[in-house]
């Protein structure tokens, strides 16, 4: 059986296209606002504070925070893109069409998560380009950089998809990103090396999964990391597998979708 016969690729494409169209329709919100906020981070952290902090691991502070800043946007945007994309049809009721269409769960996930991940990857690259206007950038392992970018975008889009299905209100939709993801990202070494922390806090920080994402991503830029790259990659993949398992469970039981 070939792929075209086994899968409803037209449906995947139809959903993906609508998701991308939404991004272009709201280009101001989707693209320009993250670019502006990233620039602000550079002005405040990079220039104002960075002029007082000299170097971390031999990297200028401005350059040091670039991977963390990209991760910050990548995580929050992946989650909000994917959670909104599936929550909105649930909210207005138009989800009936998706559920009544000859579309498999796998196709639904590929389309929605693919759309959300694509948007946040594009965004990550735009932030990278914006950053290069402020600081001289150097990417030691570009292939790994892209691998971390894609892996993280997909993982957190899956996570967002789960939140979107779980959420019963717009408030719940905002809750997880606001109360969990943003603090974890800020405390996960976006703006500092966790080696700068006192020992106790360093140990506590190691329970923060975002540390591994940022550390691995930063390694792909500068070849320096807080924790070993293997562990970073391993943790990212573990989180991806957990998300896949939850999505599989949601679809097997019809949780908050078909009941």
């Amino acid at each position: 059986m070939n792929l075209r016969a086994a899968m409803n690729l037209r449906a995947v494409w139809a959903i993906y296209r609508v998701e991308m169209a939404r991004a272009f329709r709201t280009v101001l919100q989707s693209i320009i606002s993250p670019v502006i906020s990233t620039s602000l981070y550079f002005v405040v952290f990079g220039s104002a504070i960075g002029s007082r902090i000299t170097e971390i691991d031999g990297i200028s502070y401005g350059a040091f925070i670039v991977p963390g800043l990209i991760m910050l946007s990548l995580l929050t945007q992946s989650i909000s893109n994917a959670s909104f994309a599936i929550y909105f049809p649930k909210f207005v009721g138009s989800i009936y069409e998706l559920l009544s269409a000859p579309v498999s769960y796998l196709e639904i996930v590929i389309a929605y998560v693919g759309g959300a991940a694509t948007k946040s990857i594009i965004l990550g690259l735009i932030i990278l380009a914006t950053a290069s206007l402020f600081v001289p950038l150097h990417i030691e392992h570009p292939v790994w950089m892209l691998a971390f970018l894609v892996l993280t975008a997909v993982t957190f889009s899956l996570f967002g998809f789960i939140i979107g299905i779980w959420a019963k209100s717009f408030e719940q939709l905002q809750l997880v990103p606001l109360l969990i993801i943003t603090p974890l990202t800020f405390l996960g070494g976006s703006f500092y090396s966790i080696n700068m922390l006192p020992d106790v806090w360093r140990t506590v920080t190691l329970f923060n999964p975002v540390v591994y994402l940022i550390s691995g991503f930063r390694w792909s830029f500068y070849g320096k990391s807080d924790v070993s790259v293997g562990i970073s990659l391993g943790m990212t993949v573990v989180f991806l597998l957990i998300c896949i398992a939850i999505v599989a469970w949601i679809f097997r039981t019809g949780y908050r979708l078909r009941n």
């Binding site: 329709r25 009721g93 009936y96 559920l99 000859p102 579309v103």
Partner: protein, 279 residues
């Protein structure tokens, strides 16, 4: 040639739930459902390919254009793009001049038609219309019924739920009655009306009667308060004697009448009676 099947039932009887199960929106707790021989779980792609659904609520992505919305639906069902077909659907529903308008700018009636266009975009063989004319003005309702009849001529099976029993009466080939989650009865509309329908014979008398004579007790006649009209209610299953014998008996008794009128009970009366028997 398709069929129009009306599913009738009081609020909360399970009409929408039944449709939702068949269409894959709600998981069933037990039982099996097949659509044209395709099991809706094991063979869901084949089953759903055959079905178009127009739900009760108006739920459309408000920010997409009419054209994009309908083409999206077609893509979702795995059909290759066919602009000519989509154009025909939109023209049939008088939405063609609105093809570039965003859904949010459409009137309620137009949104309803857009929902129908979406359901028809993938050329379904079975069309579910859940309360399609709720809140739709009379003229539009006429147009919609004309369209439904055309679909039937093209071989599409239409299953509709409605609160307007006159509508089922005017449109349906067969009627199903659902109550408290169970299909109580399925029958051809004509058979249903013949079997369960009552007839009423009204006789306008030349001279008013003070009371009904004893000899007519087996007919259980009703006399109007002014004594000027006799009403005889009968049905095909009843053991009461026929109209002919009543008229013979009236002549024999010297009761003369000026005019005769008959009335068939409507589907609504049948429906109400059925539910009353159930309860």
């Amino acid at each position: 040639m398709g069929e129009i099947f009306a599913l009738l039932g009081p609020n909360g009887a399970g009409k929408t739930t039944l449709i939702s199960i068949v269409c894959g929106i709600v998981n069933r707790s037990s039982g099996t459902v097949t659509v044209d021989g395709h099991d809706i779980t094991r063979d869901y792609r084949a089953a759903r390919n055959l079905i178009g659904l127009v739900p009760q609520e108006l739920t459309i992505d408000a920010f997409e254009s009419v054209w994009a919305t309908v083409n999206y639906s077609r893509g979702l069902f795995g059909k290759p793009a066919n602009p000519a077909f989509v154009e025909k659907v939109l023209r049939d529903l008088s939405l063609w001049d609105k093809k570039d308008a965003k859904a949010i700018t459409l009137s309620g009636g137009m949104k309803r038609r857009l929902m129908i266009a979406k359901a028809l975009s993938h050329e379904p063989r079975v069309l579910f219309l859940d309360e399609p004319t709720a809140g739709v003005d009379v003229e539009l309702r006429q147009d919609m019924w004309a369209m439904v009849r055309r679909l039937r001529e093209d071989g599409v099976t239409i299953i509709l739920t409605t609160h307007y029993i006159e509508e089922a009466e005017a449109m349906a080939d067969r009627v199903g009655v659902i109550n408290r989650g169970e299909i109580v009865l399925v029958d051809g509309k004509a058979e249903l009306m013949r079997k369960l329908g009552r007839k009423r014979l009204m006789l306008e008398l030349r001279a008013p009667l003070a009371s009904i004579p004893e000899t007519f007790s087996r007919y259980a006649l009703e006399l109007s308060p002014d004594g000027g009209q006799l009403t005889y209610t009968y049905d095909n299953q009843s053991e009461r004697p026929g109209v002919a014998s009543l008229i013979r008996d009236l002549e024999a008794a010297g009761i003369q009448f000026r005019d005769i009128d008959t009335q068939n009970s409507s589907l609504e009366e049948i429906f109400v009676n059925l539910l009353r028997q159930e309860a």
